[in-house]
Symmetry: C2
Subunit: 331 residues, 2 copies
DNA sequence: GTGAAAGCGCTAACAA
DNA sequence: TTGTTAGCGCTTTCAC
């Protein structure tokens, strides 16, 4: 196999000229069209390989073909949940010949709008996105991109596909188990009602309380921004007065923050306080003998997201994946 | 602001026709060219915004302009080190108007080759890659993509830029500190010599031993694949005979595996065994009162990588970032 | 079975 | 200041 030197870019014309035929024949040969003499086709294929021909995606895109680009708009990928999601999506995209483009939003509407715009410039064929809490006023023109919303949903002009996590049952289950084991002062630390997902989780917690015939202690319910610090600080607040005997978290970062706060206070789990985290980063298995948590079906969510992205049907679909209560030793 | 209905794609011609001018004038106006009457320019800009015009990256690419696409070829992004790296790179790319495209290789040459090929199709302007251990025979044609190799380097036909981690000093430092605190049976668990990075770390460990005037115990040096399981199993092997009094890890996943193995054996760190991990995932801070570890300058590496990618100079450069010994309580 | 022409969206180069 | 032409790489359509 020869190697062209600092040559110009190899196109079908290069090959055509090289072989003394029309570039059209080369095109047909390369795209496996029927009407090409086997002999010609083989010569083309061979020469293409020799010259290191690579088809130009730009040219295809300009002709109107869908690109292989799939946008992934996520708040971040340092959080293990999103990292694993992006990891899974990437693998599945590769298998389907799709190319995932990452754009981090940090949950900011402006960053989201920027990302969407860039994806349109690149003619991305679809975007998988966790919608930022509040959209910029002028809801971005999505062009003809297929959209799959993740986790949260935004009421949209045009309906889009979505993959949501159904964690209500798992949360209620957690409350009921805690209650069954004799806990009566069950606290909740989660995201504020600002996010739809935050509202839903709190509602599930309350439903669990009521199903367990437990009274609601307003001071045991802490909500705020979905951040590590919020969870961390909430612990201090919770422990400053009459402390709870159990705690359920309703947010990824919040859960980490709360857990660390508890560790810092040297509380022994579950003796002094039963703990149920949210999300299942790998280290939960190794901390405090294993942290009981509401585990999210990352892989299934990624599977659904990519399936919806690759789906050809024009009608938006919604898929739901159930979270589970992963029992370990802290509750 | 009006909103076009199910209209055709908006191009400069759409705007031109709409305004009764030439599409060339529109082009000039939109790209801020000088020779346009202010009045005309404003009209164009306004109409473009109204119609939701988005410039076609495909058309630009076809004209030979560099695309905004930057490839990121990484083994995975579920490992926190790579996840944080990808996170940082993404942010920095956004700031510079670049679009990072992810392709996971799982350290497999074939996956790497596939990724590179796809990036060429898309005319990516550059690629940041952790080279897979062994290249496929036909070293892939990189076209005119700028290449930045990460962590590992592969001897290449054409030299490329690179960002490497200099962890030798940190590793030697770890050995010396351990020795100074009275440890004499210091074990090492790391990647096999298959990877250049593996070889370098082991060499650094040995250099440390020799600098500390400590003999080398071959049975205390465990090398193998850079996996969680390897680290985990190495612990079992190490503890089965005369155990070490200290352990230094030489790999991200290996370190996690070893740490978990130690935890499972209920060894109290550092009393029964001093532990120095490799890499600094967030939970190291919270496990066993804080895990002493060789911390990698993720953010700096990302900074360098993006700087090299955006660098216009034609001569490849190598940047080195020093790892540090993060002292916490396990050593 | 093969080729010539046209056009996707854009801009450099030239013309007016 | 504005317009016309041509061409980037590819495939569809229509000729041969």
């Amino acid at each position: 196999v020869e190697r062209p030197e600092v040559t110009r870019k190899v196109t079908i014309k290069t090959i055509a000229d090289d072989l003394g035929i029309s570039h059209m024949t080369v095109s047909r040969a390369l795209s496996g069209h029927a009407n090409v003499r086997a002999e010609t086709r083989d010569a083309v294929l061979l020469r293409a390989r020799e010259l290191g021909y690579v088809k130009s995606a730009a040219a295809s895109a300009m002709r109107g073909d869908k690109t292989s680009i799939i946008g992934m708009l996520l708040p971040n990928i340092s959080n293990e949940f999103y990292a694993r999601f992006a990891n899974d999506v990437s693998i599945r995209c590769s298998q389907r010949g799709l190319s995932p483009l990452i754009h981090l939003t940090n949950d900011e509407p402006q960053a989201e709008a920027d990302g969407l715009r860039r994806l349109q410039e690149l003619q991305a064929s679809a975007v998988i996105m966790v919608p930022a809490p509040r959209s910029s006023d002028d809801d971005t023109n999505l062009g003809d991109m297929r959209v799959v919303q993740l986790i949260r949903r935004r009421p949209e002009a045009r309906p889009t596909s979505a993959v949501v996590i159904d964690d209500a049952l798992a949360i209620q289950d957690a409350v009921l188990r805690l209650a069954a084991s004799g806990k009566s002062r069950i606290a909740y630390v989660g995201a504020s009602g600002f996010l739809s997902s935050g509202r839903a989780r709190l509602a599930a917690f309350r439903a669990g309380l009521s199903a367990a015939h437990l009274p609601e202690h307003p001071d045991l319910i802490q909500t705020g921004p979905a951040s590590f610090d919020m969870g961390h600080d909430a612990i201090a607040r919770l422990l400053s007065t009459e402390p709870p005997d159990a705690l359920i978290c309703g947010g990824l970062e919040i859960s980490n923050g709360a857990l660390v706060g508890l560790l810092e206070h040297n509380l022994s789990l579950p003796e002094e306080l039963a703990f149920v985290g949210y999300g299942d980063p790998s280290f939960y298995r190794w901390i405090s003998g294993g942290v009981t948590t509401i585990s999210l079906p990352v892989s299934g969510i990624a599977e659904d997201a990519v399936a919806l992205v690759a789906d050809e049907s024009p009608t938006p679909q919604t898929r739901s994946r159930a979270a589970g209560l992963k029992l370990r030793s802290t509750a």
